[in-house]
Amino acid sequence: MIVQADILKVFLYLGAALSTGIASLSAGYGEGFAAAHTARAMMRQPNANNNLTRTMLISQAIVESGAIFALVISMLLLFGGFTSRETDWAKAFSLLGAGLAIGLGCTGPNFGSGYSAGMAIDGIARNPSKSGRITANMLIGQAITESGTIFSLVISLLLLYTVPAQMEDPTLMKIIVKSCAYLTAGLVIGIGTFGPGAGIGYVAGKANISISKHSKDQGLITRTMFLGAAVSESTAIYALVVAFLLIFVS
């Protein structure tokens, strides 16, 4: 059940293209959202433009890290030397699954952290004297928004490097089952992190606005944000558990 080298290349190129393509779609939207809110905020507070530009750049760097993960997986698929060994169909599908996992997986988190960044910039425009606190809260919020992306990255790396190139005692049925399991492991983490990512981004954005209004209660707001984020994140953790089961116990 060895895949021909040319057909393996089809899987690699498809995985690489899908991962960076889908990831850039959402990362571009998120960064654009932050930039648009910065432009509007500058009209409101022209004196705080230094603060606003700095916050925009920092937040865009965090939003972009999802796309950077996807770019890395693409680079590894293209240049990581997967064509040099003989692989069977299950490994070929796992390579495609790795691309799909990170590509789909950072969609929701990127939208979410873009929203959080935009709201933080609105908050700074409203209350420029508290920009330090709002930026710190924005960073925490974006970091927990991104945990969905991180789970997808973990699954992608597992699919790339823990799946053996050739199965021991392969039969036709076993290879079909394994191929399906690896592909769906990528899909489950990709689709499963969409909602939690966008949801936590919403929580973080509203928390940023609240801090600009009531900056004295920052500790309480941050802790409530964490609690809400932990509950929304639980569905992403279910997806992670299912993906682990599909990779290791199928």
Partner: protein, 304 residues
């Protein structure tokens, strides 16, 4: 304000020039520091013979690399002595010994650097502060304010822990700026971020256990129902995964992208911009994010 901007510009221009010199004069070759096993020189330049694919293979799977290319003397990759390498082989096996050797050496360098820096600042500090003292007082004050704001005024003794974590991650991320083979960021190796993550989350659980008592601590896992306990435990483990893979993914990703794009462009100018973004900007932000997350996870458990 004006002088501040000028100094930043000067730093950027100097960095740019140094990178330009390295990029043009030593095109495709690298600076080695150590002892050359063939000639006995201490510092020498060598033409790069590895292709990009080989470098990526070597970074990720040294075991397979040694096997695939039939490397006869793998200890030369460690830029260290053969005897030490043999001890490492006994501990870890052939291929992983190279990465472990490099990692241990880098961590040792960083530790020595940080201890010397701390001693230097401690004994050079005076009432009329020098420039370097002002910088470190600012960093200390910044982290101290964060700790006091998040944990409360009576918990300022945690500052030392978080300051150490921040400075360690910061210096290890910035060590990628030295263009010397064998010197790579310790955070690029998954073991270091995982260790830091386990340390931070372990501290959170230890302090929470000490504060709440064992019964209340165990009850915390059974929310909202008793049957949810396994998923809550998975949730706690996922905290470690997300905090450490965030750091690892960013630094490792930056290293791979820099490697691939600079070999596609034959190392001309482009690596400067990539280093500016991935090492200096993203490295600093990720060090700060790691510290903030560890701090906030701690505040969730020990603040009433």
């Amino acid at each position: 304000m004006k002088s501040k901007k000028m100094s930043l510009k000067t730093v950027l221009i100097v960095f740019f020039l140094i990178e330009l010199i390295i990029a043009f004069f030593f095109l495709g070759s690298t600076l080695h520091i150590g002892t050359n096993p063939d000639t006995g020189q201490k510092i020498w330049f060598e033409k790069k013979t590895e292709t990009m694919n080989q470098e990526i293979d070597f970074d990720i799977q040294p075991d397979l690399y040694v096997e695939k290319y039939n490397v006869e003397e793998p200890w030369k990759f460690t830029y260290g002595s053969k005897n030490l390498y043999d001890i490492f082989v006994k501990m870890f096996g052939t291929g992983s010994a190279i990465l472990n050797f490099r990692l241990w050496r880098m961590i040792l360098y960083l530790d020595i650097f940080m201890i010397l820096l701390a001693l230097f600042i401690r004994f050079k500090s005076s009432k009329i502060p020098s420039k370097i003292q002002v910088v470190f007082e600012m960093v200390y004050g910044f982290i101290d304010d964060l700790v006091a704001e998040t944990l409360g005024d009576n918990k300022r003794h945690f500052t030392k822990f978080f300051l150490t974590i921040f400075l360690f991650i910061f210096f290890s991320n910035w060590s990628a700026l030295l263009p010397i083979p064998g010197i790579s960021e310790p955070t690029k190796n998954l073991n270091v971020p995982l260790g830091l993550g386990f340390m931070s989350i372990g501290l959170v659980h230890f302090l929470s256990l000490r504060k709440k008592g064992i019964i209340d601590y165990a009850k915390g896992f059974c929310e909202p129902f008793f049957i949810m306990a396994p998923l809550n435990i998975v949730g706690e483990v996922s905290k470690v995964i997300s905090i450490s893979f965030r750091l690892f993914g960013n630094i490792f990703g930056g290293a791979i992208i820099t490697l691939v794009i600079s070999s596609l462009t034959k190392n001309v100018i482009v690596p400067i911009g990539l280093n500016l973004f991935f090492t200096m900007f993203a490295g600093t932000i990720q060090a700060f994010v790691f510290t903030m997350l560890a701090l906030t996870y701690l505040s969730m458990e020990i603040v009433d």
